[in-house]
Amino acid sequence: MDNQEKITSNQLMAIMISLLIGIGIMSLPRTVTEAAGPDGWLLVPAGGVIVIITSVIISKLGLLFPGKTVVEYAGDVITKPLGLIFLLGLFVYFVIFCAFEARVLAEVTKQFLLDRTPTEALVITILLACAYLVRQDIATIGRMGEMLVPVFVIPTFLFLLPVIPQMDLTNLLPFMRTPPLKFLTGIGTTVTSFLGFETLLLFHPFMARPRDATKAMVTSLAAVTFMYTLVVIATMATFGMVGVQRIIWPAFSMYRVITVPGAFIENVHGVMMAIWVVAVYTTLAVFFFAAVILLSRLLGLKEHSFIVLPLAFLIYFLALVPGNISQVYSYLDAFSVYMGVPLCFILPVFIFIVARVRGMGDERGKGHEKYPKKGT
């Protein structure tokens, strides 16, 4: 562990923001509106709160086992076989998630920009670009995050401004008329768009100052929640409740209505598309990195870079499994609910509870004294 490079709290925040903003944001306005109608936008902060609580638990879990990733302590806490099943499940989940990211990226770029480029070419290109990054260590990924987060966060806000004249905020009315039960089940669909925060299970020991992880997680998740909420509100205000539900990627279509007055070239959505590709790239790279780290630790490897390319091929083939866009999304929904929710919410919390009940770990955080405080 000591020979690994460490990441600062800012880098963890950058990793989390770049990780969470990916394929989900483009269809999020549709899914929340389908779930709760005009109150859909409220599901986002509600889901965000649940995710923040879970991430705090995960970072507390990390503090119990200083310097260890989930790979090392899961077996100790919930017995070896159960731990192994959990870790393998997590690995499969990361790999499949990468495949979905690559596939949805390919589908959207094919739909809007590159109709004739084969899906295979798009998937290979993005996977190779990611593989190049994933062969490096976590500090490189952290620096990449710090560099790229402004690239897609700033334009997302900036390009909302010209849409404002088209917005009709009364589309968000009536307020809080959704039946509570429907609202609660709706939160279930929203939390899946925050999937990715669970990589903290692996990244925690890489922190230069592990105690800062909780704060960094809360800040970055709150920022993402804010951004999601804003995009959802803007999209619903632009298209209305019924309009949003009909559009497959409403957030894109919203950026499509921007016209720069007087200019012949008036479709800003091409720029937005390119920016979104960057956002998906970072998401894919971090998930890929998590999968690689998990597998290399599980196999007890000293060096992770050589399993990157074989894994890239696995992801490539998985990405091409769904036959069409409708299958992509029905698989993705099933995957997020049946794999994402248990692996990222239920099991980490369960492990934390078991660890506390069994009185395991380094409760007072004594272990952290091994890691002298560095300037961040």
Binding site: P38, L114, P118, A121, T170, G240, T259, F264
Partner: protein, 401 residues
């Protein structure tokens, strides 16, 4: 030696990458693009321009299309002659724009047929206006198919203006306008200047959403002249097809109710003299309430401001007099209320279409009422009691007394 080999390998790698990675399947040179500026879609009527049973596809005028199940719609496009605008090419085409038309089963199959005679890649991303023919909108099935195709295509923006043409959309695209030669821009500029309330603007996304939601929508109407186009009036779609028209004056009143009216001039009768009143500002307030019998009431209040623009030269009454101004205000109020009431009556009792999305307003602001009426809103709309009032204020009278 080793480093030379390594360098050579690197150089080879770079060269290979330059040739292999930059390949792009989707490259289209900008001068190979046909930038469609306006798209017209009509229902195909066999025999409309002389009939020939033989040719079922192809350019009209070369081969006359006949009656065939494949001939369902006429698709026409207008695009600028980029060669002329650039001033390039061996032979510069004379016309600044070109319009072509074909017959086909669906919009996009028809589009492909253009590739048998046009040079370039037809690009719909810059469409300024979509015109649909009257006959097409009267055919429920075709109209819904066309709307879906237009909305589904990723190149066509959702905020492009959609209009229904009285007559055929093809005719509208083939004229040579006097003022602005390129038809798409022509239509867009008329819509954007909004100097009158005689037409309203609705875009593709709004119309498609509204038709999907309630089965009806008001669509701006276009009239075609010899060498000009006129946007005025409204086509009313109900239950997925065109049911009738609102005239220009009715459209203006409908927009007052809708709170979307731009500036305009209304001439009111003051003891036999028509006084033009320039409407500079108009606000509408709307209130929905339910009385003890369960009837729904709609209060509409118009707050208008404007200027007197004319009287009569022989001065028998001073325009600066307060009493005269009161009289003008009262006349404006009377006329506006009468016009709004007329159009409201027509919508409630002739067409039965809620073109103002009052249902949507109730859903947003009075969800309790909405829960009771949403299942048969159309009927409730026709039964709704409407109270219209206007309050006009004269602010200026021109530069003579």
């Amino acid at each position: 030696m080793k480093s030379i080999l390594k360098r050579a390998l690197n150089a080879l790698l770079i060269v290979t990458l330059v040739f292999s990675v930059t390949g792009c399947w989707d490259r289209v040179e900008i001068n190979d693009r046909i930038f469609v500026l306006a798209l017209g879609i009509d229902k195909f009527e066999p025999g409309q321009d002389g009939q020939d049973e033989e040719g079922d596809e192809g350019p009209e005028g070369v081969q006359q299309p006949g009656a065939s199940p494949r001939n369902r719609i006429v698709v026409s496009i207008v695009f600028p002659n980029v060669g002329l605008l650039k001033g390039e090419g061996a032979i510069v085409p004379e016309e600044p724009k070109a319009a072509v038309s074909t017959v086909g089963p669906t919009i996009f199959e028809a589009m492909r047929q253009f590739n048998t005679r046009l040079l370039g890649n037809i690009f719909l991303g810059h469409i300024k206006a979509i015109l649909v023919g009257e006959e097409l909108v009267s055919d429920e099935k075709l109209f819904l198919e066309v709307l879906d195709e237009l909305e589904r295509d990723h190149e066509i923006a959702r905020d492009v203006d959609l209009m229904v043409v009285k007559g055929s959309a093809k005719d509208a695209l083939f004229i040579k306008p006097l003022v602005e030669p390129i038809i798409g821009n022509y239509i867009e500029q008329i819509v954007e200047q909004r100097r009158t309330g005689r037409f309203h603007s609705k875009d593709l996304g709004q119309i498609a959403t509204s038709i999907r939601e309630v089965g009806g929508a008001p669509i701006p109407r276009m009239l075609v002249g010899e060498n000009e186009l006129k946007i005025a009036g409204t086509g009313i779609v109900k239950d997925y097809k065109l049911r009738g028209w609102l005239g220009e004056i009715e459209t203006r009143a409908a927009q007052w109710v809708d709170n979307t009216a731009g500036e305009d001039v209304i001439s009111v009768d003051i003891s036999g003299i028509l006084v033009p009143f320039e409407l500079t500002e108009l606000k509408r307030r709307m209130k929905v309430w339910r009385d003890e019998f369960g009837d729904i009431h709609l209060d509409i209040k118009l707050e208008a401001e404007g200027n007197i623009e004319g009287h009569i030269l022989e001065v028998h009454r001073d325009v600066m007099e307060q009493s005269f101004i009161r009289e003008v205000e009262a006349a404006v109020n009377r006329d506006m209320v009468a016009q709004c009431r007329a159009v409201m009556n027509k919508m409630q009792h002739v067409f039965g279409v809620d073109i103002w999305d009052i249902g949507d307003y109730i859903r947003k602001f009075h969800p309790d009422i909405w829960d009771d009426v949403k299942d048969n809103w159309t009927e409730e709309f026709t039964r709704m009691k409407v109270h219209i009032a206007a309050n006009a204020k004269v602010r200026r009278v021109g530069i003579i007394k």
